[in-house]
């Protein structure tokens, strides 16, 4: 009995000691705004290296707040000065002037010569930037460099904002994969390849005080664990929040702050002009209800008119409103009649389309919704899912409707998408869209240096593709971010995926 009592008392004492603790001290704040707070964020990707020049690793070193580029895309998709203060072009030669006082985390000043070396290294390390090797780049002073291109390159300034063109200290970095020396407000503290990344404040940050003491980035690919970790208090935020999770977070606005901004990843479909005549294509585009689709996807996409956000100067196109009655009359005028199954047919053959898609980026949901909408007006369809669209239907052209998702605006300029999708030499030409007028406009856009004129040309080009019913631009993915209350400044209002924490990111206890 005594032994039992002694055991119970010992247990109570141990529990009491465990329960003891001091109340958490309020976040210490230095005079300049620096705190001792850290944030923990979940990321859907994790790479094996921190070498910003390789592959897409620069997207994540930028997200981690480690690397910076000469220019930065702002919330309105305009390239703003960052490490550079200006870039002027007189045709084929760009003169870039660096900002005063910029330095790496080891205190060493960033020079024009080092910038040139970085760009040359990126050209060598990254296939997507190999074209830079053909440019003549030289430092003309400590803070100025020139880049001479073989032909007029109007969007160089925007492309210098690509996170893969981050500026690193190439002389003093000994391990680019694990500990690159960069200019950002944070430096690497520990790095687990394809795993957890920890950063701490760069005490020598050129841009002033860094509010956060550090951050931890956890690799979590699945949505449900991210949501559970958020609800459990294990993380302070993440992006690409699902529709279901958005609903949950919105019910507790005191605990979670949700941010939804239209971003640049586009869901669209190509209509195969080699198989579908003009009337059928027009009927399809008059039937697909993008607003209904966006509503179904519950906040994760914004209905699109064109490939670019309507807030941009080059996103000003018009599409006809959904009009199923007109769609039906177009088909009937084209010789289609409704059969006993309620499906249009011509010459005894039912109008049945092959909708090809791949199961990512909600395209599976999109395919089903489009199928339903078409069926409602009498167009039958079958769904074909492929694991790799680039190796199958995009290459073979074996589709009637091909769904796809890609970043349409990667650097605040329309040329990239127009060149990749609407040019006659692009692989999307397999869908049969050929327009000499469009091609001429694209050629003009390629060399046009005036920003307003570029937007006007882009609008004309995209409008041609809409008027020809060659494509249907369905939705632009929203950048959906959830942050714990008190956490701010995680680039939640910026449409680009490659920014997250910076010197102004903060967390109040």
């Amino acid at each position: 009995m005594k032994k039992t009592l002694a055991l119970i008392l010992a247990l109570v004492m141990v529990l009491a000691l465990c329960a003891c603790g001091t109340a958490p001290a309020p976040a210490a704040t230095a005079a300049g705004g620096e705190t001792d707070q850290t944030v923990t964020l979940a990321e859907s990707f994790a790479y094996p290296s921190l070498d910003a020049h390789k592959d897409y690793y620069g997207w994540y070193t930028s997200i981690y707040g480690m690397t910076e580029t000469l220019f930065k895309m702002d919330d309105n998709s305009v390239a703003q000065p960052w490490l550079a203060e200006s870039a002027e072009s007189d045709g084929s030669t760009w003169t870039v002037t660096l900002r005063d006082g910029i330095c790496f985390s080891n205190g060493k000043a960033v020079t024009a010569d080092m910038v040139v070396k970085n760009l040359q290294r990126a050209a060598k390390e990254n296939d997507r930037f190999a074209y830079l090797a053909g440019y003549e780049m030289k430092a003309t002073g400590d803070k100025t460099l020139t880049i001479t291109t073989p032909e007029v390159y109007p969007t160089l300034k925007n492309d210098l904002a690509s996170p893969e063109l981050a500026i690193m200290d190439l002389d003093d970095t000994t391990d680019f994969d694990k500990a690159p020396i960069c200019t950002g407000p944070f430096v690497i503290s520990s790095f687990e390849p394809e795993g957890t990344v920890k950063v701490v404040r760069n005490e020598k940050y050129w841009g002033g005080d860094v509010k956060l003491a550090g951050a931890t980035f956890l690799y979590m690919q699945e949505d449900d664990p991210k949501q559970m970790a958020m609800q459990n208090g294990e993380i302070d935020g993440y992006t690409s929040v699902t529709a279901a999770a958005l609903e949950t977070y919105r019910k507790a606005p005191d605990t979670y702050k949700v941010s939804v901004v239209p971003a640049t990843r586009l869901q669209f479909y190509a209509l195969n002009e080699n198989r579908l005549d003009a009337a059928v294509r027009q009927a399809i585009n008059l039937t697909v209800d993008k607003n209904a689709i966006a509503k179904y996807l519950n906040g994760t996409v914004t209905a699109a008119t064109g490939p670019f956000g309507t807030a941009t100067a080059y996103g000003k196109v018009t599409v006809p409103a959904v009009d199923t009655a007109k769609a039906k009359s177009l088909l009937e005028a084209d010789g289609y009649t409704l059969n006993a199954n309620g499906i249009y047919e011509k010459g005894g053959k039912a109008l049945s389309l092959n909708i090809c898609y791949y199961a990512a980026r909600s395209l599976d949901t999109l395919a089903t919704l489009i199928q339903e909408q078409l069926k409602a007006i009498g167009i039958d369809s079958t769904l074909t899912v492929e694991e790799d669209p680039d190796g199958t239907y995009i290459t073979t052209g074996d589709f009637d409707i091909a769904l796809y998702c890609m970043i349409a605006d990667k650097a605040g300029d329309p040329y990239y998408f127009v060149n990749a999708v609407l040019r006659q030499s692009s692989r999307w030409a397999i869908a049969g869209f050929h327009s000499d007028a469009c091609e001429a406009l694209i050629n003009q856009l390629q060399y046009e240096t005036d920003t307003a004129k570029r937007a006007e040309l882009a609008n004309q080009i995209v409008q041609l593709s809409i008027d020809d019913n060659a494509f249907g631009y369905v939705g632009l993915f929203n950048k959906t971010t959830v942050l714990r209350a008190g956490v701010t400044g995680c680039s939640e209002t910026c449409p680009f995926d490659f920014y997250e924490i910076d010197a102004n990111t903060s967390k109040t206890a």
Binding site: D127, G195, D224, E234, T392, A420
Partner: protein, 313 residues
């Protein structure tokens, strides 16, 4: 015995050659472009010229047999090549994934055996009683539920409701428990039923009746005689499960962010990372043969009357 083991290992060579050639051929025939997969990973389109240059750099334009021959030559020199995705050595990537999966496999097997052996014996002894029905029903449910559902339910219950474990699995006992349990639940469900059947068969044998008639204690009969004779069946099902577990459970590894070899293999297949896929197939084939050999040796150790290496029992 040494000669037989040697023969088994020699048989491995044509198996590996045939398997790797078949897999390489299938990958070559399957649609998909490793260069496009790598360069367009974040949804950014690249020009055909850039893709062509990447294909040239990756050696993808060479004929299939030349590529396979080069790979084979590399393997004979102990070099499994480098990953198309990140340029890291394949062997290092596979080893890292395998280590993590090995930990998970051992943990889930230990948990499965520790739970299913006593439960299997219990249900056999208490045949057709309430306990037997309940456990058999639960094993039926456990065997029917898909891994992803088990994983999410465990996470929800233990991390959100009861808050014993963190959602984010770390390399610690606490971080390991839930993914191991997620893998163990379907295993336990199968093991319990298998062990129950084996124990029932043993209990019906004359030596058990004889032992009971001689007044030997029931516990002794069960755990010294019956269970010992059932062990070979336990080893069989454990052996069969080890191979599958070492192949990695992609679903569990993805949900718990456990960077094992299953996830590595799946990501490599999606990315058309041929060198990693080939390396994975090679390693898994060797591991499967080694496990089968170990299982057969274990039979022989348990019961010298059985010549396990000749496959007899």
């Amino acid at each position: 015995m040494g000669r037989t083991i040697g023969k088994r290992l020699l048989q491995l060579i044509p198996v590996l050659l045939g398997l790797t050639l078949l897999v390489y051929a299938l990958m070559d025939l399957a649609p998909g472009d490793p260069a496009a997969k790598r360069l367009q990973a974040q949804g950014v389109a690249v020009s055909e010229e850039t893709l062509d240059a990447a294909r040239e750099e990756m050696g993808l334009n060479r004929p299939f047999l030349v590529r396979y021959g080069d790979w084979l030559l590399g393997v004979l020199h102990g070099d499994l090549g480098t990953s198309y995705r990140d340029g890291l050595p394949v062997a290092a990537k596979l080893w890292k994934g395998l280590k993590n999966t090995l930990v998970l496999t051992l943990a889930s097997l230990a948990l499965s055996v520790a739970v299913s052996v006593p439960l299997g014996v219990y249900t056999a002894v208490r045949q057709n009683r309430a306990g037997d029905y309940v456990i058999r029903f639960l094993s039926f449910v456990g065997a029917s539920m898909p891994n992803f559902l088990i994983s999410v339910l465990l996470m929800y219950f233990f991390c959100i409701r009861v808050k014993i474990f963190p959602v984010i699995a770390k390399s610690s006992v606490q971080g390991l428990f839930l993914p191991a349990l997620a893998l163990a639940v379907p295993l336990m469900s199968r093991f319990v039923r298998q062990i129950r059947a084996e124990v029932l068969e043993e209990l019906s044998k004359p030596y058990v009746a004889g032992a009971r008639a001689r007044g030997v204690k029931e516990r002794y009969v069960l755990y010294k005689n019956v269970l010992h004779n059932t062990l070979s069946a336990v080893i069989t099902i454990v052996g069969l499960s080890v191979g599958g577990l070492l192949g990695g459970s992609v679903v569990v590894e993805t949900i718990f962010s456990w960077r094992g070899i299953g996830k590595l293999a799946m990501d490599s297949i999606t990315a058309r990372d041929y060198p990693v896929i080939q390396g994975f197939v090679l390693w898994m084939a060797v591991i499967f043969v080694a496990i089968n050999l170990a299982t057969d040796l274990a039979y022989r150790a348990l019961d010298p009357r059985v010549d396990g290496l000749e496959g007899g029992r």
